[in-house]
Amino acid sequence: MSEAASKLEWESGTSRIPFAAYTSDALHRQELERFFYSRHWCYVGLEAEVPNPGDFKRTAVGERSVVLVRDKDGALNVVENVCAHRGMSFCRARHGTLKEFVCPYHQWSYTLKGDLQGVPFRRGVKQGGVVQGGMPADFKPAEHGLTKLKVATRGGVVFASFDHDVEPLEDFLGPAIVPWFDRLFDGRALKILGYNRQRIPGNWKLMQENIKDPYHPGLLHTWFVTFGLWRADNRSQLVMDAHHRHAAMISTRGASGKSEGSEGVTQVSSFKADMQLEDPRFLDIVPEPWWNGPTAVMTTIFPSVILQQQVNSVSTRHIQPDGHGSFDFVWTHFGFADDTPEMTQRRLRQANLFGPAGFVSADDGEVIELSQQGFEQKPFHRTLAELGGREVGDTDHMVTETLIRGMYRYWREVMER
């Protein structure tokens, strides 16, 4: 059992999460090892970001810098951004196209697969007819490649793992989550619309929890409750994989404003009966055939990514931890290659609701920061995640924190091993 995890005191089950689960560097390092660097697939990007041979994207798995690159034969490779020679983090551009990796320090070069191919002065330098220096005769380039990650793709989404014994991606996602993953990424060509990057001063798990918490959207987010995009009386469903680590929150937009029987959800102070948009194009929502009903599906793939469909706005949100009290949150908004110009415009307009300045999502970063502040000052205390009971299970409503309890059941299984 992890020593850091053994110090945590759980009152019972996982409905009361110790604040200390968010405030310890030792625990955080253990989480990186057990969730990000072994036995899990981590998100690294979309195939559409590296469409052509030689295209690369620098990104991160956990706190380790890696490079996703499309090889000359079209295959996708992911290598760690650390030169085998002097450890330099050699790739500085964040994207581009190249034929080989070259570390600027001593010009060691690697193929796009990460194999070492060139070491300057390996066989020494001739001076006055004598060969001086060079690498030892037994130096074997084959033993000194870049660290190669295992790579898997599904529907244009690229995952990588430092652990070459990781289970197949489909098994990792599990049969309960795969259909929701495939609904969004059904193999259609994607079109990248752009990025947003924010640094949130809170523990990375809080972002997973935020998207496993269907309790808050209809309370914190005025736009969601007032315009009926996400509220407690919407038709909805919560599903988890067998380990309870991944989840999908599925919701269908219902009434906006007040309606018969809606008093319970519209009495909340964030509901604004008289609020009307001056420019309703923010919510120019057009249903798409692939939705098959639900207007919002938020999928959390543990530990590294959130897949967003909120009406016509679709994105991936990549979690890149930076110590126990901070993470970078990278949004990649996309559309589909066959989108009409009108649909692209609609996705871009609705993007105003999301991201670090979004009418809806800006709130989430703020509350995460302030939760972290509470944890830091009172690490002996614990949260309460008991809405809907203390058990873990799928539901057909959203008045529950069961997904958070489920995630911590899995967290305890892994961390207390």
Binding site: Q198, P356, F359, G365, E366
Partner: protein, 167 residues
């Protein structure tokens, strides 16, 4: 590139240039004042306000952090700041450079300026919040000079959690 040599750089008469400086200064003053309703008034009814990471701008990606197309959208944002967006309160302070005039014709100026925004949270130190430049189209209207288009391109690679108030 698009930057004409100093010799061919467009000249504005003093009165127009002074009006332009005044517009920039008043915009900064307004967005730092906390009176969010003043912000939409700096724009024409049909307008473009886009807050864009430099990365998206330079790579030709259309996504903006915020993208508004009318004074109505700007007023919706002002309402959001006041009424719907939960956020930790903060002060912001713009420091705006002298505008470069790229092009001018009667009633219309294409210009740019560098800016830095500092953020001060209550009980905290002041930090650099967001840094970049604006690429603007300013037009003369019966109500004075207004922004027809304001493209705010920020260098800052990471947004420090969130952007609530207008830049």
């Amino acid at each position: 590139m698009s930057d004409p040599s100093p010799i061919t750089r467009p000249k504005l008469d003093f009165e127009t240039y002074q009006a332009l400086l005044q517009l920039y200064a008043e915009y900064a003053s307004a967005v730092d004042s906390g009176d969010w309703d003043r912000w939409p008034e700096f724009f024409t009814e049909v307008c473009s306000y886009r807050l864009v990471p430099r990365e998206n701008h330079e790579r030709g990606f259309p996504l903006a952090t915020l993208a508004f197309e009318s004074q109505g959208m700007l007023r919706d944002r002002a309402y959001g700041i006041k009424e719907t967006l939960f956020h930790d309160p903060y002060y912001q302070r713009h420091v705006v450079g002298v505008p470069i005039v790229r092009k001018s014709e009667p009633g219309r100026i294409d210009c740019e300026a560098n800016y830095a925004v500092f953020r001060t949270k209550l009980s905290e130190l002041t930090t650099v919040f967001n840094v970049g430049r604006t690429i603007d189209v300013v037009v003369s209207t019966p109500a004075g000079w207004k922004f027809e288009s304001r493209l705010v391109i920020y260098d800052s690679e990471m947004i420090p959690n969130s952007i609530i108030y207008p830049v």
